[in-house]
Amino acid sequence: MEEFAALLQALVYTTGRNRKLTLIARYLRETPDPDRGWAMAALTGELDFPAVKANTIRNLMKERVDPVLWSLSRDFVGDTAETASLLWPDNPAVDKNPPSLTEVVETLVNLTRNSAPLELPKLLDRLEENERFALIKFATGGMRIGVSARLAKTAFAQAFDVSVEEVEEYWHALEAPYPELFAWGAEGADPPDVSNRPMFRPFMLAHPLEEVEVELSEYAAEWKWDGIRIQLVRVSGETRLYSRSGDDISATFPELLDVLPMDAVLDGELMVRGSVQGGETGGAASFNALQQRLGRKTVSKKMLAELPAFVRLYDVLLLEGGDLREHSWKERRRKLEGLMSRLPTSHFDLSKLVEARDFAHLAEIRAGTRDDAIEGLMLKRRNSAYIAGRKVGLWYKWKRDPLLIDCVLMYAQRGSGKRSSFYSDYTFGCWDGDPDQGAELLPVGKAYSGFTDAELKKLDKLVRQTTLNRFGPVREVERTLVFEVAFDSVHSSKRHKSGLAMRFPRIHCIRWDKPVHEADRIEALRSLIRD
């Protein structure tokens, strides 16, 4: 525990990627099994102790600290684990003797909702502030210390001088604390045998196309559909569905688990059926409809009937025992097209290629797209193998230009993580009529990004100086500032008073100069709905 806490502490205050890698690699080399395996699981966000959630910690604290003082502190610090570790009352009756990570895991896995509030305090009493921080982070997940799963795996590769691609390849087939992985990396044992497991293969990803033009003879174009990127894997008859980050989301979409008639690994976009959008046979609904199905552990029959999911296929990685990833896109595409007749049309279709005479023509096609299920275009190098990660020059995404609207800042809230204690989450509104005739502002969305650090400071100051009201952590501000807000699409929504929900809203430009009565009206936004 001390070593892990010291590692986290050092990582928090280290900015450079290389120095973070060095710190993690050194920890992995110097720490014994299985502690280092548990640490890897924590850094990659793979740990889950169902009895310990952020709420468990909040409740523990509210028994020990006045709830109002707790909330004010949490709001300022911007991180529950850190606030709790700072406010935990020192218990002088208990000697400080931090347990090992393995002991911690043994305690945490056996906790229930009833026993957690009794057992966690015993652990916390044994720890110093930075160890408490580490323990709570470890137990509740979500480190937020500027280390991605990818960085942790890269550090593993660096620590033991193996390739990160191999680490990625085995990773998803293994479970914490990864004894086979350490045996292979650190002790030189044979690589873990993963051939019979339906495991996730890291995705090939795209760079944004920025002021680059490509030759269409070298690149194929296809639509970038607005669903979620998934990988459907069937090995030895067993099927799994993985999200873009490699999470197993099979339980969320059970209708896709028995429809693949052969062993294969397929890359595609998961969407739900809809009559309005799609432009392809069957048609897809907008992302808004799909969203109702995301994040569920169980799915009702009604949901399955009303919003059935299907996969629009982009690529084939493995087919009936053969690994196609070394083959060119052109070759894989030919295989995929050949495969379509063997797949049920109820659950699969093919993402069609977009034919254009030249790049200018393609730009014209992109600009003319009015389909809400399309996010933009993908450009894929015809002769490229399927390479995990984001390698320059192979795949590009060329998103549609965002929609823009002028809104007025209405409320602000402090951010979390990097932006904690700054007012960085903004709710903005549009007029419900003519502002000169007494119209009011209705909130239409919330944005957290799109401004620089310098602008954030200025915005934070403005919020503090023009506060009208405080509702807990939320400040209502005077209506003085116009944001030009960029967003990908807008949908009708019952959840919001304005009846609208924007997708990916972000601050495009802060219009310090623009008077608020010149901001847009709700009707302008409503006219952009394409549900």
Partner: protein, 334 residues
């Protein structure tokens, strides 16, 4: 007989003493000002008359290049303002020359703390607890998460980092008035005798402290130094020079910052600080609450900072309290 304490009126830009028509720490130029200490958000220039300690007046003269209207008051000295209001200055333990002001009128006693702390500080006199009816306190660190550790621990951390990286330097961001000199004096007290290098913005204030009898040891200017001279040395700069173009002249600087905000990890990360030093010239939560208990006033007024939490604390202890929203004093201690 008017309502209690009605002769003292908090306004957004300062506290107005009505019968005397003068202001305490006003945020704009006024005819007559009582100034508690030399930090820019309390000591603006351009007042007709400025009543402050000799040290504060010297600091203001350094900044505003004028002594016009300067009226010095010693600690413990009482002056009579127009309208018969009496004002007495007592040390506040914040920075050199910092004072609390006790105001007496109509049989009522009001203490305005300005900024203060209760920790030992070799560069200024400690806070004196003054009994009063209304205690007007700051609350910069008015949240229970803010507990400043002993400064010796922070000095040990700094010196250990320096010893671990003999080929680099540690650049400590510290406010030019008060924090910088306190850090230097504490380093000397911890036995660090080597030359300490200064950013140009620090020089005059350090010299002023030395003139007032605070020994800071050998100080050198970064501008006059070779990069290699500064290996293994401590460099003190304003926080704004951290991770800035200016720091490129330093030998692989390790970025440190001396501030009470460093208690919060994300605050340190936001500034790219690698070595956070939790050192503050403001009272931490325990000092704020202990001081209110010790002074035990009828009413506590809270001027600036995290006033909500201190209000709540007062409420829980059935202490009468109110928050005054003063403009322009949000994030001190940087």
């Amino acid at each position: 007989m008017s309502a209690p304490f009605s002769w003292i009126r908090p306004e957004p830009w300062g506290i107005h003493i009505t019968p005397a028509d003068c202001w305490v720490d006003p945020g704009r130029a006024v005819d007559r000002a009582l100034v508690t200490h030399g930090h820019a958000d309390h000591a603006r220039g351009g007042h007709g008359q400025t009543i402050a300690t000799p040290e504060t007046l010297a600091i203001m003269e350094l900044r505003y290049k004028t002594r016009d209207g300067a009226t010095p008051v010693q600690y413990g000295e009482t002056i009579t303002l127009p309208g018969g209001v009496k004002a007495t200055y007592f040390s506040a333990g914040h920075v050199l020359g910092s004072a609390q002001v006790l105001l007496e009128h109509a049989g009522e006693r009001v203490v305005i703390t300005g900024d203060y702390k209760r920790r030992n500080d070799p560069t200024c006199a400690p806070l004196e607890v003054i009994p009063c009816d209304v205690f007007i306190t700051e609350a910069t660190f008015g949240l229970p998460v803010f507990i400043h550790p002993p400064i010796e621990d922070e000095m040990a951390k700094l010196l250990q980092t320096l010893a671990d990286h003999p080929d680099q330097c540690v650049q400590v961001g510290a406010y030019a008035l008060g924090k910088a000199q306190r850090v230097i004096a504490e380093l000397r007290a911890a036995g660090h005798a080597r030359p300490i290098y200064l950013h140009g913005a620090m020089e005059k204030m350090c010299r002023l402290y030395e003139k007032h009898g605070i020994e800071l040891g050998e100080l050198r200017m970064v501008a006059d130094a070779e990069k290699d001279d500064m290996r293994g040395a401590i460099v003190i700069s304003p926080p704004s020079a951290l991770n800035d173009r200016w720091s490129r002249r330093l030998p692989e600087p390790i970025t440190a910052m001396a501030s009470g905000w460093m208690r919060v990890r994300q605050r340190a990360r936001q500034r790219g600080v690698e070595l956070p030093l939790i050192i503050s010239d403001h009272a931490d939560w325990n000092e704020l609450t202990a001081t209110i208990e010790e002074v035990n006033p009828q009413e506590t007024w809270i001027t600036h900072g995290r006033e909500e939490a201190l209000l709540r604390w007062c409420e829980l202890r059935q202490r009468k309290a109110r928050a005054l929203a003063l403009v322009g004093r949000e994030d001190e201690d940087e």
